[in-house]
């Protein structure tokens, strides 16, 4: 099990009586990008959000099944969700920097988790910003508000913020869909950089994006996992008819 960053087994998500994700089992490898694709409302975002127990926040949502990280099933009522979430970073569709300075956006998490030394914090901020390819643009205005950055920069700031607390897994929910093509290209470049260290799971609407950046792709339809395979194979020679219909643009 060690070779996987994260494995889901028979994962189902219910919103009240409605089952949004149906018994999905998926293994996500370390140091790889896995793309989740499918038409809107197919359950891919819901699936992603259950991996760091974000669905706990939604009243009436229920997640059954198992999610394994190493030797631990994290979808267990006794799991310490707060420390779990430190190990799993998350990036949203719309950039959501905190209403704080650029520096604070990044330093906030590590400081909370126990890094008090100013020098160490400075270092973490610089490293995280470098990793997110934002250092050069922001090093002279670290104490300006995070909201003063452009949309694409804000999204990279959010990525830097999530890697500052040293997660091993990063979840991305359509991270580029609200951005212009230039910023999108930068984010994609960044994701390819980051996969050398992290297990990245990304939800995307954009099939070209999935093809460009991911090693593996999972196709969801109506809450079911239809097909899961190497990205190259998926886009050239899919097993299932639904997959080829979707990929060739017949619906969705």
């Amino acid at each position: 099990m060690q070779q996987y960053g994260l494995s889901a087994k028979d994962l189902s998500v219910y919103y009240g009586p409605k089952q949004a994700v149906k018994n999905v089992s998926l293994d996500f490898a370390n140091k790889q990008v896995t793309a989740l694709i499918g038409p809107s409302g197919c359950g891919k975002s819901t699936f992603l959000r259950s991996l760091n127990r974000m669905n706990d926040l939604i009243d009436g949502a229920k997640v059954t099944g198992e999610i394994w990280i190493g030797e631990e099933n994290i979808n267990h009522p006794k799991t310490d969700v707060v420390s779990l979430r430190q190990r799993i970073g998350m990036v949203w569709q719309r950039p959501n920097p905190f209403h704080k300075s650029i520096y604070e956006n990044i330093a906030f998490g590590p400081r909370y988790h126990g890094v008090k030394n100013k020098k160490q914090l400075d270092e973490i901020v610089e490293q995280s910003l470098r990793k997110a390819a934002l250092w050069e643009e922001t090093k002279d205005r670290l104490h300006k508000s995070g909201l003063s950055l452009s949309g694409g920069q804000q999204q990279r700031l959010c990525i830097a913020r999530s890697i500052a607390v040293k997660p091993s897994i990063i979840l991305m929910d359509e991270p580029a869909s609200a951005l212009d093509p230039v910023s999108t290209a930068k984010i994609e470049e960044l994701i390819t950089e980051l996969k050398q260290e992290y297990c990245i799971i990304i939800v995307t609407h954009n099939m070209h994006q999935a093809a460009r950046i991911s090693e593996k792709t999972a196709f969801f339809l109506m809450g079911d996992l239809i097909e899961y395979d190497e990205t190259d194979k998926m886009f050239t020679d899919p097993e299932k008819k639904e997959t080829s219909d979707y990929i060739s643009g017949r619906f969705g």
């Binding site: 198992e66 030797e71 631990e72 099933n73 006794k78 707060v82 420390s83």
Partner: protein, 300 residues
């Protein structure tokens, strides 16, 4: 598969989580205790009139003579109840149409100007303290009425007029919100049929927003019903039902304000005043109930 056997270290965030839960829990607990103890204490005092002093509740509600300190002691609170209802309902009758007009002006006729100018005016009217309204009522409205109408100028008319200005913001704000929340298709459909603006407002908009408008009016009445000092200053405070709108009378709140400080705790007179407070409180429940009912209806 077995759950991880790794022993969970006690984490600082668990203690922190408890801080939040306990702190907010205590706050909400204090709030709940405050409300319950308020109801309990006012009720227990107010009921003494009936239990300790042996006054028939019907006598209190329907009796016309109020003289709890006299011989024989008389506990007829009907004049106060009449005063409270007549001033607050009359105030709503004045403020209701005004509030409706102001709301229509702000949403339908001149939204830009209305929002920028009339809205702050309404907010300021809401912010002016009630004693100031009472003072202006006493020094402007009462002398004016004295000159125009027979009598002293004080009474239900003066009280209602002062109250109507005080509750105008409540009614206007709620009517404005309701009007702004109407789906635009509703109006466009009517305009498309060639209806004029007034026809649209009168036939389509008014019926749809009526529950909300009524909610505003009931809230206004509730506020007027409970207002004490502004009314006390202009009503005259004579404990009987007046024969005209311009004759001195009392309300529940003005009677309490007038005498609570001059009676001894525990005396029959004092207990009777608490009974008036109890009536005020019960009316609050009634108003909240009506508002909830109306809100339920306006959701459609």
């Amino acid at each position: 598969m077995a759950q991880s056997t790794k022993v969970q270290q006690p984490k600082p965030h668990i203690a922190e989580e408890w801080v939040g839960r306990v702190y907010t829990g205590i706050c909400i607990f204090i709030l709940i205790v405050a409300i319950f103890s308020m109801v309990y204490f006012v009720a227990s005092r107010g009921l003494r009139t009936f239990i300790g002093d042996g006054v028939n509740p019907l006598e209190l509600l329907t009796g016309l003579k109020w003289n709890p300190g006299g011989e024989p002691a008389l506990f007829g609170a009907l004049p106060f109840i009449f005063g409270s209802f007549s001033t607050s309902i009359l105030a709503a009758l004045i403020a209701g149409p005004l509030g409706f007009c102001a709301a229509v002006f702000m949403v339908e006729i001149m939204p830009g100007f209305g929002r920028k100018f009339l809205q702050p005016v309404i907010e300021l009217l809401a912010g002016i303290p009630s004693v100031v309204y009472g003072f202006v009522g006493l020094s402007v409205i009462v002398p004016l009425f004295r000159d125009i109408f027979p009598g002293q100028g004080i009474g239900i008319a003066a009280g209602a007029l002062v109250l109507s200005v005080m509750i105008l913001p409540t009614i206007t704000t709620i009517a404005t919100d309701a009007l702004a929340a109407l789906p635009s298709g509703l109006k466009e459909g009517s305009y498309a049929l060639g209806a004029t603006r007034w026809q649209t407002i009168y036939r389509i908009v008014l019926p749809t927003m009526l529950p909300a408008l009524l909610t505003g009016i009931v809230l206004g009445i509730a506020r007027a019903f409970g207002e004490a000092l502004a009314v006390q200053m202009v009503i005259g405070n004579a404990p009987h039902i007046p024969r005209s709108l311009f004759e001195s009378t009392s309300t529940l709140t003005s009677a309490i304000t007038q005498s609570m400080g001059n009676t001894v705790m525990g005396s029959a007179h004092n207990n009777a005043l608490w009974s008036l407070a109890l009536i005020l409180m019960l009316m609050t429940f009634v108003f909240v109930f009506i508002v909830r009912w109306l809100e339920g209806r306006s959701k459609i």
